[in-house]
């Protein structure tokens, strides 16, 4: 009967929730590809806004426009170090999980959440400096439009990432992942690294370029 593969016998008896390793691997493959494609399309979203920023920036001679200093390079650099640091701690968190060291995993994950939150607070400080001292508003100029839209979109991704990592934390507490099966953790890590990499480009484009 099973010459080429599937049969019609339902596997929905007692053992439904204990999927075989082979089945898990197959589903994991689908999800990994699907998640990667999602990140690629998200990358296009950022690229489109970056294109808009470069296009608008190219229409005027001086950037930032007269009257606006723009974000502070040193502060931005320090804040970036915080975010990149969180990428490193997330990497160690995943590695700890793979090695079965749960205690270390929670420490690294906690540190990641802390650094992510720190980055967002730093960004909040930067925004308030631009808004109150430099009077650069979102709707005020093409500088405000591109800076606040792009860094805001990125900040929103960081915010979502913090929620995502917190959910993963709760899931590990609830025993959703095992040492062998932890795709949700892998996906969260991929997402977090993705957000880091986007920031590399944004930092270069807004602080250095």
């Amino acid at each position: 009967m099973a010459v080429a593969g599937g049969t019609l016998e339902h596997e929905h008896g007692a053992g439904h929730h204990e999927m075989s390793d082979a089945l898990y691997e197959e589903i994991r493959g689908h999800r990994l590809l699907g998640f990667t494609l999602f990140l690629i399309s998200d990358c296009i979203l950022f690229s489109a806004f970056i294109f808009a920023y470069l296009y608008l920036r190219n229409t005027i001679d001086h950037w930032p426009p007269p009257g606006i200093e723009g974000p502070n390079l040193l502060f931005g650099a320090l804040n970036s170090v915080v975010l990149f640091g969180s990428g490193a701690t997330m990497h160690y968190a995943l590695e700890s999980w793979k090695h079965g060291n749960t205690k270390l995993f929670y420490r690294w994950l906690g540190l990641t959440l802390f650094l992510g939150l720190w980055f967002l607070l730093g960004q909040g400080y930067e925004y308030s400096d631009l808004y109150y001292r430099q009077h650069a508003t979102w709707a005020g100029s093409i500088f405000g439009a591109s800076f606040f839209t792009l860094t805001g979109l990125h900040g929103f991704h960081v915010f979502v990432g913090l929620i995502y990592l917190s959910v993963v934390w709760l899931q590990t507490r609830a025993g959703v992942y095992t040492r062998q099966r932890f795709f949700g953790l892998t996906a969260a890590t991929l997402y977090w690294h993705f957000v880091d990499v986007i920031w590399v480009f944004l930092f270069f484009l807004f602080y250095i370029f």
Binding site: A2, T7, H12, L23, E26, I44, F51, Y55, L56, A145
Partner: protein, 559 residues
């Protein structure tokens, strides 16, 4: 057996069919039901958008008609274009045909992410409701392209328009992602990439376009939304923005979007022609790879829509050349299809007639596309009815002829009933003749200088406009024939059985309509699906048709 080693554990894992009306027909996760939902919703929007087209044609019966006010006229053609592009064509060819047929063709039990598929569909009706709700507050008036600054000053409905297109865009992106994983990961054992049916190749290329281009459109629309609602300056030159920026971002999506329409239609044609010519498809690999080439080139030509927008002359040349290059993969397809017909035993069924009609009307649309790609000609023709004629030949003469061929071809698989060939053949001839009578004169009007998107026109265009309008009423009537045929078939149509056409792709190897789980056994695939005259290249299908309604033995597939 060697193939047994490749079997997929997921394919063995069959979920029980959900019971209850809601889970079965409303919030279904079955790709076939979702596909039917897409088709029905898409056809409803098609009727609405078609009525809008007839309003346009009624206004144009007279050069200074008072049937619609100029503002109403602007609303009507903007909504006609918007609805036809995003709410009819794309959902029909990807969400509709793609969902129903593609997983069956690759021997899968469903798409990779059924729940995501359900979400994709359920973003579609609310998006449509949002779009048409804009009539209540003043619908967008700047055409389906909504160029700023006009769209920035447009009525409040323009904001709803942005939201509706963002929603339907997210839906398309998710469908693209879902299909990509499905085609990459869930093909039956032995179905290598070059053994996939060409419709699957077309869906594959389309999924890539949907996944990438649509997101860029979402970015452009979000920026327009932010500018309209919060005054964030992206496009308004008074505040430092640039209207040309919108055109770049919009066309970076919307040019690939025309390939989102047409590639699945290419796929349908590539299935229908060999079946009714009883001959292997000619140039399989060339057709498959040319789909991918078209998809890639489609990303590099967007600025050919902007030759008159004030772009640097040195930039016009590469866009012109790249655009003309697309004629090569497209020409390869046309010649391959003609090669398929050459020496074949042609059966003139309705589906085949539409496919052959497609070859003619699409080629006309393609040729005028090359004319428009040439910068000197475009400077003259841009913004005239010549452009309207061109894209209606491509979208109606191309995509919609493909869609109609697909409806007549796969209807028996979905409903287990045949459509009436008598009504079908009558519909084909009326559609084909009146499609040409409606859209061909627009070329001439355009070359004579009649501008598009204007509610009135100079007296010398009156006769031809009346001719077009009257032809368009008959064209609309031909769709009444289609709906009558569908209703008749559901009640009185002849039982089709699993494989009424003697086709060889996998969807015809199982009962009509296919059961919830599609295949009892996932078959092994030994070669491509087009070798008419050879034994069927599938192993493991012996039990499929045991209890099929009107079952019987597998048709040999050879003529």
């Amino acid at each position: 057996m060697a193939v047994a080693a490749q079997h997929s554990p997921l394919a063995e894992h069959i979920h029980p069919e959900p019971q209850g009306f809601i889970r079965k027909y409303v919030f279904s996760i079955d790709h076939k039901i979702i596909g039917i939902q897409y088709m029905v919703t898409g056809l409803i929007f098609f009727v609405i958008a078609g009525c809008l087209a007839e309003l346009i044609r009624t206004q144009l019966l007279n050069g200074n008609a008072r049937f619609l006010t100029p503002d109403q006229y602007n609303e009507v053609y903007s909504m006609h274009g918007t609805a036809m592009v995003w709410f009819v064509t794309i959902p029909l060819v990807t969400g509709g045909f793609g969902n129903i047929i593609m997983p069956l063709m690759i021997g899968a039990r469903d798409v990779a992410f059924p729940w995501l598929n359900m979400l994709s569909f359920w973003l579609f009706p609310p998006a449509g409701a949002l779009l048409f709700a804009s009539f209540l507050v003043g619908a967008p008036e700047a055409g389906w392209t909504e160029y700023p600054p006009v769209s920035l000053q447009g009525p409040p409905g323009t904001t709803l328009w942005c939201l509706a297109i963002i929603l339907i865009g997210v839906s398309s992106t998710l469908t693209g992602l879902n299909f990509m994983v499905t085609i990459f990961k869930m093909r039956a054992p032995g179905m290598t990439l070059t053994r996939m049916p060409l419709f699957v190749w077309a869906q594959f290329a389309t999924a890539g376009l949907n996944m990438i281009a649509t997101v860029a459109l979402s970015a452009a629309l979000s920026a327009l939304f932010m500018e309209r609602v919060f005054g964030v300056p992206f496009y308004d030159p008074n505040h430092g923005g640039s209207p040309i920026l919108w055109q770049h971002m919009f066309w970076f999506y919307s040019h690939p979007a025309v390939y989102i329409f047409i590639l699945p239609a290419f796929g349908i044609i590539s299935e229908v022609l060999p079946v009714f010519a009883r001959k292997p498809i000619y140039g399989y690999k060339m057709i498959a790879f040319s789909s991918v080439t078209i998809a890639l080139l489609g990303f590099m030509v967007w600025a050919h829509h902007m030759f008159t927008s004030g772009m640097a002359p040195w930039l016009q040349l590469p866009f012109m050349i790249l655009t003309m290059l697309i004629a090569i993969p497209t020409g390869i397809k046309i010649w391959s299809w003609m090669g398929t017909l050459w020496g074949g035993v042609i059966h003139y069924t309705t589906a085949m007639l539409f496919a052959m009609g497609f070859l003619i009307t699409f080629t006309i649309g393609g040729l005028t596309g090359i004319m428009l790609a040439a910068v000197p000609a475009d400077l003259h023709e841009h913004g005239t009815y010549f452009v309207v004629a061109h894209f209606h030949y491509v979208i109606f003469g191309g995509t919609f002829m493909g869609v109609l061929a697909g409806i007549y071809y796969w209807w028996p698989k979905v409903t287990n009933r045949l459509l009436s060939e008598k009504i079908g053949v009558l519909q084909f001839w009326l559609t084909f003749i009146f499609m040409n009578l409606t859209f061909f004169p627009m070329h001439i009007l355009g070359l004579e200088g009649m501008p598009r998107r204007v509610a009135v026109y100079a007296p010398q265009y009156t006769d031809m406009n009346r001719f077009i309008s009257i032809s368009s009423y008959v064209l609309a009537f031909t769709f009444v024939l289609l709906f009558i045929n569908m209703a008749w078939s559901l009640k009185y149509g002849k039982k089709a059985g699993p494989n009424p056409w003697g086709a060889r792709t996998l969807e015809w190897m199982i009962p009509s309509p296919p059961p919830y789980y599609n295949f009892k056994n996932i078959p092994a695939v030994l070669s491509g699906p087009y070798d008419f005259g050879s034994p069927l290249p599938y192993i493991g299908l012996e039990e499929e048709l045991e209890k099929a309604p009107g079952g019987g033995p597998l048709p040999a597939g050879a003529h």
